[in-house]
């Protein structure tokens, strides 16, 4: 390299050009949103049939589309519309009839008798009978099935015999007629209906057989079905209308299509161009834009909040074996700052139940930020801290495990700052998610971390039982990551499980909430909520407290000549390429 002045200046010129391009890019940053494409018949409210609804997702659907084994959140929307169950949730998270037209509860509260609709058909044309219900339940709960949710159903009579002792059938499920099936429980259990509404036990076609097989083509009784070749692994999933769906007239849509592995920015571009109809993965800046844009605001909504996050403090390891230290932490966290990490998605939480779960009490105060009180708690704990001199506090080392991806690595840094102000020194260790789960659930390993919990089924028991009941404590799989043991709480939670009267039950959970907030095994910090935006021609889309994409009753009202493409990828890219060639800005002229 014979370098002379000229070479350096040439390089400098190159750098200059690149910088200019970058600045040009920056200048063009603040472009406004494209206007939404409106409904073709805005005045009409009668749903129209037809059209394919297109959605996308950042993630990739990896598991199988089998209701008995599905564990990932991503496939939930698809499974919900492929498989109809005896019961389902309405938009207030209450259990309502679905395949069963009604049910009866026996006087002793131990037996539920379900009356199936007559003439409901599976995707393969066969009628749904009580025997199919029994077969599907036994298939899902059989010990050879990799079912991650089987133990949610341990209240069914004969569960232990069937799952562990090799009984041929599940004694608690009894077929009483072609359309009548009874399920018997060990004891009165208020959790039964909420867990029954989950996809796990939903009826599957006879092609699924009696036992699980991972090469089964999904087939159920829901409003949409999967055709052969409809699932292109890692790329897209297309479901088409099940013409024999038991609700007449439904579904309105011809098909629903998910595209996987799409960048958030691409999703937004495609939504604006009309190549996607509903979008759920939106960046922080874009949420603000959609919210403040008067045209898009009515078309978007925050999903009900169904998750809680909190700093889980291991009550078996110092210093968190001292209740005053835990109370100090709960009072020292400035939750407003947590919210500012991602203001669009984070809401402040101060109790164990999130807003979308029945039993949530918005008036309950729970844990709150109170710095003087925090200092007082530290003094009572025996580690007084003087903020003026910085002396005192807990002398030992406290390790905090944070994981990526997610907001935890950022809230961890804020927590570190907040706890330094009361004399607790945190050292953050960043690990990958699988390592985190292994460490957080292992005894005597993690002093403090923020594992979070999302609703599995909409009931307070789903939050209290695995997180704070001492029966959930385990050597290395303890979801009670605080290893919290309170006999009084255990007793209240046990009573609440068997209490069928809703008012009394929620009063019990209110008491449980008070205990947990006061004893502070967790310092509740925040919830996370998703923002959904859809185009103007998408009608009757309502966010659901349990299902991420609630498209069973949605319909499309689109003008025939609006921009649409059957293969969004090619058309969009060629369109943008040719657009770029003809117009200097490369954007649509309608802007």
């Amino acid at each position: 390299m014979r370098s002379t002045r000229r070479q350096i200046s040439a390089t400098g010129r190159l750098v200059g050009v690149l910088t200019a391009l970058a600045l040009l890019g920056l200048a063009a940053c603040r472009e406004p949103l494209e206007p939404p494409i409106g409904a073709a018949h805005p005045g009409e409210t009668t749903p129209r049939r037809g059209g394919k609804l297109r959605l996308a997702s950042i993630g990739d659907l990896r598991g199988a589309l089998d209701p008995a084994t599905s564990a990932e959140a991503l496939g939930r929307g698809a499974i919900e519309i492929m498989f109809a169950g005896l019961v389902d949730y309405d938009e207030a998270a209450h259990v309502v009839p679905d395949l069963a037209s009604r049910w009866e509860l026996s006087d002793d509260g131990l037996s539920y008798r379900f009356f199936l609709r007559e003439g409901a058909r599976f995707h393969d044309g066969e009628e749904v009978t009580a025997d199919d219900v029994r077969r599907s339940i036994e298939r899902a709960l059989h010990p050879s099935t990799p079912n991650p949710w089987a133990s949610l159903y341990d209240m069914i009579a004969g569960y232990d015999e069937y799952t562990q002792k090799g009984a041929a059938h599940l004694a608690g499920v009894v077929v009483e007629g072609r359309y009548v099936v009874s399920i018997h429980l060990h004891d009165k259990d208020a959790r039964f209906l909420p867990v029954l509404a989950l996809p796990t036990l939903r009826p599957v076609c006879k092609s699924a057989g009696e036992r699980y097989s991972d090469s089964w083509a999904p087939c159920g009784a829901g409003p949409f079905r999967l055709e052969a070749g409809g699932w292109d692994h890692g790329r897209s999933l297309t479901l088409v209308r099940h013409e024999g769906y038991f609700r007449p007239g439904l579904p309105y849509l011809d098909a629903v299509q998910w595209t996987y592995g799409m960048n958030m920015m691409t999703e937004r571009f495609k939504l604006e161009a009309g190549d996607l109809d509903i979008v759920r993965d939106i960046s922080q800046a874009d949420v603000v834009r959609f919210q403040t844009d008067q045209r898009w605001n009515p078309l978007s909504v925050f999903e009900p909040v169904r998750s809680i996050y909190g700093e889980s403090m291991n009550t078996e390891m110092p210093p968190f074996d001292n209740v005053e230290v835990r109370r100090a932490v709960a009072a020292a966290i400035n939750r407003e700052h947590y919210r500012e990490v991602r203001p669009s998605a984070v809401t402040i939480s101060n109790q164990a139940i999130p807003p979308a779960v029945p039993g949530y009490d918005p008036t309950f105060r729970g844990q709150e930020y109170d710095y003087p009180a925090a200092l007082e708690h530290m003094r009572k704990a025996g580690y007084p801290y003087d903020p003026a001199t910085g002396r005192g506090g807990y002398p030992g080392e406290i390790t905090y495990y944070a994981y990526r991806p997610g907001l935890q690595e950022y809230t961890a840094q804020l927590l570190q700052q907040d706890l330094a102000k009361i004399g607790l020194q945190l050292t953050i260790k960043l690990v990958s998610f699988p390592t985190f789960v292994a460490l957080a659930y292992r005894r005597k390993t993690t002093q403090i971390s923020n594992p979070g919990w999302t609703e599995d089924y909409p009931d307070p028991s789903d939050f209290f039982d695995p997180l704070f009941d001492s029966s959930a404590i385990n050597e290395d799989q303890s979801q009670n990551s605080a290893f919290y043991r309170n006999p009084r709480l255990d007793e209240i939670l046990a009573r609440a499980r068997h209490e069928l009267d809703e008012t009394r039950r929620f009063a019990l959970y209110g008491e449980a909430n008070r205990i947990v907030c006061d004893d502070a095994p967790w310092a509740f910090t925040h919830n996370y909520r998703f923002y959904i935006v859809h185009q103007g021609y998408v009608r009757d889309y309502r966010a659901h407290p349990v299902w991420p994409e609630n498209v069973g009753k949605t319909w499309l009202d689109r003008a025939a000549d609006a921009v649409s493409s059957t293969s969004p990828g090619a058309a969009a890219s060629w369109a943008s390429l040719t657009g770029a060639l003809s117009r200097p800005s490369g954007r649509r002229a309608s802007h």
Partner: protein
């Protein structure tokens, strides 16, 4: 020559076996639990334990390793019946079967998953190689021919920048400029039709290729400059051959020889080495698969990708060594 080939191949097999075995051990001592990753963080402990037993993860390490090796390559029927459980996960090459097990997460044979992803990575590797070679050789020749002019300095300076820019910075920059601002190209992904694939491969190929192109530019330029002064080139010029013929027929052909060996090594590295680029551009290839498999603790897939990428790298090394031996009589002993 044959003895050399045999020896190198034997060592290649040893290296691949060693890498795979070490990876097996390392993978098994990582803290975490594939059963937990399959069931999700919210599944109750009893269910996780049942899934773990179903996966056969309770066996001691030595036995798991033994089963892994035993299953890996074996003989069997040339066509596998659909209900044949024993050979359900095998890829068949005549009577020889390759069995990498079943993915914990996807519940499909690993050979099927790899088979889906490998063509995409090869497509990206080929596109990147094309970009590298075209860009690198063209710039290198141009710079050599226009020595010490402003073009030469621009090329050399640019190539130094190209070598300096880290892949992911470059990728982010290209993505920002061409996909987000100018919207000429898609942000990321693979697309659904062949036209989509062609458009989507441009940015990741450029990202991968710029480093190589910068390298090749300097290589070709240095070689060409050296060669163009040699006697036979001067003779050719004196004979009255047009300049472009001098360049292509005499200088370029010899300049390409060291290039060929570097290309060979690069190709091996590109298969499975493009992790950052594939992740950034969501290119569903082997690199992206290895990252997700690692994060899912999906053992069979991890082993499958390690086997595949180490084989590619080792074989390309062997090929390059053999080429050296074949072309350069001094090296052949």
């Amino acid at each position: 020559m044959i003895r050399l080939l045999a020896r190198r191949l034997a060592w290649a097999v040893f290296v691949i076996w060693a890498v795979t075995s070490i990876a097996f051990v390392v993978n098994n001592v990582l803290p975490s639990d594939p059963a937990r990753m399959i069931a999700g963080p919210q599944a109750r402990p009893g269910d996780v334990a049942r899934i773990r037993k179903q996966l056969g993860l309770e066996q001691p390490l030595g036995q798991q390793y033994g089963s892994f090796l035993r299953r890996l390559v074996h003989t069997g029927p040339t066509t596998v019946a659909p209900d044949d459980k024993e050979h359900a996960n095998c890829a068949t090459f005549g009577p020889i079967h390759l069995d990498l097990g079943r993915s914990y997460q996807q519940r499909r044979p690993v050979v099927v998953v790899l088979g889906e992803r490998l063509p995409r990575t090869l497509w990206l590797a080929a596109a990147a190689m094309l970009a590298q070679v075209l860009l690198g050789v063209a710039t290198g020749v141009f710079a050599a021919v226009r020595r010490n002019t402003v073009w030469d300095h621009l090329a050399v300076g640019g190539s130094l920048l190209g070598i300096s820019a880290p892949t992911f910075l470059l990728g982010l920059g290209l993505q920002f400029l061409f996909a987000h601002e100018l919207r000429w190209l898609p942000l990321d992904g693979y697309g659904l039709t062949f036209a989509d694939h062609a458009v989507c491969v441009v940015l990741p190929a450029l990202t991968l290729g710029i480093f190589g192109a910068a390298f090749y530019t300097r290589l070709v330029r240095d070689e060409m400059i050296g060669l163009m002064k040699r006697d036979y080139v001067r003779t050719a010029r004196a004979k009255g051959l047009p300049e472009w013929k001098v360049i292509t027929r005499h200088a370029l052909r010899n300049a390409l020889m060291p290039l060929v060996t570097v290309i060979g090594l690069d190709l091996g590295a590109l298969v499975g080495g493009a992790i950052v680029t594939e992740t950034l551009f969501r290119w569903p290839g082997i690199g992206a698969l290895s990252v997700t498999a690692l994060l899912d603790r999906d053992g069979p897939v991890i082993m499958g990708t390690v086997l595949l990428t180490s084989t590619a790298i080792v074989l390309s090394n062997v090929a390059v060594d053999l080429m050296y031996a074949a072309l350069d009589p001094r090296v052949r002993k």
